[in-house]
């Protein structure tokens, strides 16, 4: 456990120093901050824009960070050969893989937390003007569950990126980092369209046997990233139940465990 912690810590500090990461973070915070500016819209539309842009930016830039950080963690060690001095110590390949993964996850979560903080500040400043709106200014906007739901959405984004980081890290242990990036983007975007895959697999929608099998398999094995997106519930101010959060985070953890196990099986046989 100690070796995993030490490697994760070193990975985290190393990753935080990447310039592109700082660039993405600054840009993301600027985008989130810019959601402040939509004052010319109707209050309801303005709030929708604020939530959509803010949480959407956290998810989008979080995705970029997770992929770009994840796919470089192991290839960098291989290129610079720092892996040789590490694996010459009493460190197993499983500990190395987990250390790199947790270090990458810590980097991603730190960045999501900073973006989340920027969004929460913007929301906290803007929210009272929607809450205290007079009937003349527009229809009343229900915001009873909005604030806790926003925190839940940021939490779910962290779990979504946990899955994506695992995919990126493991893909980079198998392929080159370029191929691993393409693979991770592909999985992420296809994983956003799980319902569409189900429709493509459905004979009721005209799928032949081969398509039904291919899309059916893809639907079952790919992560369903859209389940982490609760923006619609936030805008409708529906209470997001803890059971839903438990279910989604549980799925994410199971998925991560399976991906890391596959990664270990491959990496354990890889010559470095």
């Amino acid at each position: 456990m100690s070796a995993i912690w030490r490697i994760a810590k070193a990975t985290f500090h190393e990753a935080l120093r990447r310039r592109f990461l700082n660039g993405i973070l600054v840009f993301a915070i600027l985008i989130i901050g810019s959601s402040w500016a939509f004052t010319y819209l109707q209050p309801g539309a303005e709030l929708k824009m604020l939530i959509d842009i803010g949480l959407g930016a956290i998810r989008f830039f979080g995705m970029l960070i997770a992929i770009f950080v994840g796919v470089r963690l192991i290839p960098d060690e291989l290129e610079k050969q720092t892996i040789h001095t590490l694996l010459a110590k009493p460190v197993t390949r499983a500990q190395f893989l987990l250390g790199k993964f947790f270090g990458g996850v810590a980097t991603v979560i730190t960045n999501v937390a900073l973006m989340g903080l920027a969004f929460v500040i913007v929301y906290t400043i803007k929210a009272p003007q929607f809450r205290e709106m007079s009937p003349e200014e527009g229809p009343t906007i229900s915001m009873e569950f909005m604030a806790p739901n926003i925190l839940k959405a940021i939490g779910l984004t962290c779990f979504e990126l946990l899955v994506l980081t695992a995919i990126a890290v493991v893909a980079s242990a198998i392929f080159s980092w370029v191929l691993a990036s393409i693979f991770s983007f592909f999985i992420y975007f296809v994983g956003q369209m799980a319902d569409f895959l189900r429709e493509l697999a459905s004979p009721e929608h005209g799928a032949d046997t081969a398509s039904s099998i291919v899309f059916g398999v893809l639907y079952r094995i790919l992560p369903h990233f859209e389940i982490f997106d609760i923006r619609e519930s936030i805008l409708k101010d529906n209470f997001v139940p803890w059971s839903l959060l438990g279910n989604v985070t549980g799925q994410a953890i199971i998925y991560v465990v399976i991906i890391l196990m596959i990664g270990y099986l491959v990496f354990n046989e890889r010559e470095v």
Binding site: S2, A3, R6, A10, H13, E14, R17, K80, Q81, T82, I83, H84, T85, L86, L87, A88, K89, P90, V91, T92, E269, E271, V272
Partner: protein
């Protein structure tokens, strides 16, 4: 490998020296055969507590300084507290990096990284040190210092496995050597065995030889060279050298010495790998 010795693995580029080291560390896997270190199969975690590894041209996490780096590697052995801090101070002084310990490794020269590479390889006070070109990139003073450290470690009873193609350095450092060529060990033995001419050549050195004696010596010896007043005659074996020496002494010559002809590691190496390719 003998315990408490410096064992050298030499070979041309691409002969498999680094691959052999990687096999020993479990970084690559054998296609056939097996090996053991301290009785444990290659790649096993059991022996890694007792070994150290110095890579060639090391690169480290460049956001760390020397102390933080050694603390990181030491912690992987479960070291902590005063034990670790004392060890770090000792090693940084040993490799001449104590005064530069606060600088990030990002700003280190290749030679400085090489010194830190040696220090991290010794952090756990290993019984066996595996080193790949440990003096590569060092200036002459640095190379001498590293060689002195390696000899000091041997004197302390440590076993050292060195990979290098710096033959003069290996000749002065190693107790035994294996010459690797195209993945095959083509010559192996103690330095004494390897550098003693294979055909048992002996060289007898004389002074005060008259012209007749020189002619006689040229007729019985393989080769006669002269240097000032001295004549060096090479013989196939010790008996021929002794017989010629007795004859020359009887004729009034002075025998300086009879010694086995000693080759250089470079000569042995070139012979072992089949000469210098055209």
């Amino acid at each position: 490998m003998e315990e408490g010795q410096i064992f050298g693995l030499v070979g041309p580029n691409g002969s498999g020296k680094t691959t052999t080291l990687k096999l020993l560390l479990g970084l690559v896997f054998p296609t056939s055969g097996s090996g053991e270190i301290f009785g444990h199969p290659l790649g096993s975690l059991s022996y890694k507590e007792r070994i150290g590894f110095v890579p060639e041209g090391p690169y480290f996490y460049d956001h760390l300084n020397a102390v933080e780096l050694l603390r990181f590697y030491g912690s992987l052995f479960g070291m902590s507290g005063t034990e670790l801090e004392d060890r770090i101070e000792y090693l940084l002084k040993l490799v001449g990096m104590w005064s530069r310990r606060e600088r990030k490794t990002l700003h280190y020269s290749r030679g400085m990284l090489q010194r830190i590479g040696l220090a991290q390889g010794l952090i756990n006070d290993p019984d066996l040190l595996l080193a790949d070109e440990p003096t590569s990139g060092l200036d002459p003073i640095g190379a001498i210092q590293i060689r002195e450290v390696l000899m000091q470690l041997r004197d302390e009873g440590k076993t050292i496995f060195l990979c290098s193609h710096l033959l003069k350095e290996m000749e002065s450092l190693c107790d035994s050597v294996a010459i690797l060529n195209k993945g095959v060990v083509c010559r192996q033995g103690s330095m004494e065995e390897l550098l003693t001419a294979e055909n048992g050549n002996y060289v007898a050195t004389f002074r005060n030889l008259d012209q007749d004696s020189v002619q006689r010596l040229q007729s019985v010896a393989e080769r006669v060279d002269s240097e000032g007043e001295q004549y060096m005659a090479a013989f196939h074996d010790q008996q021929s050298a002794a017989a010629a020496a007795k004859e020359m002494v009887d004729k009034g010559a002075q025998l300086v010495e009879i010694v086995p002809q000693r080759l250089t590691l470079e000569e042995v190496f070139i012979d072992a790998v089949g000469g210098i390719p055209e």
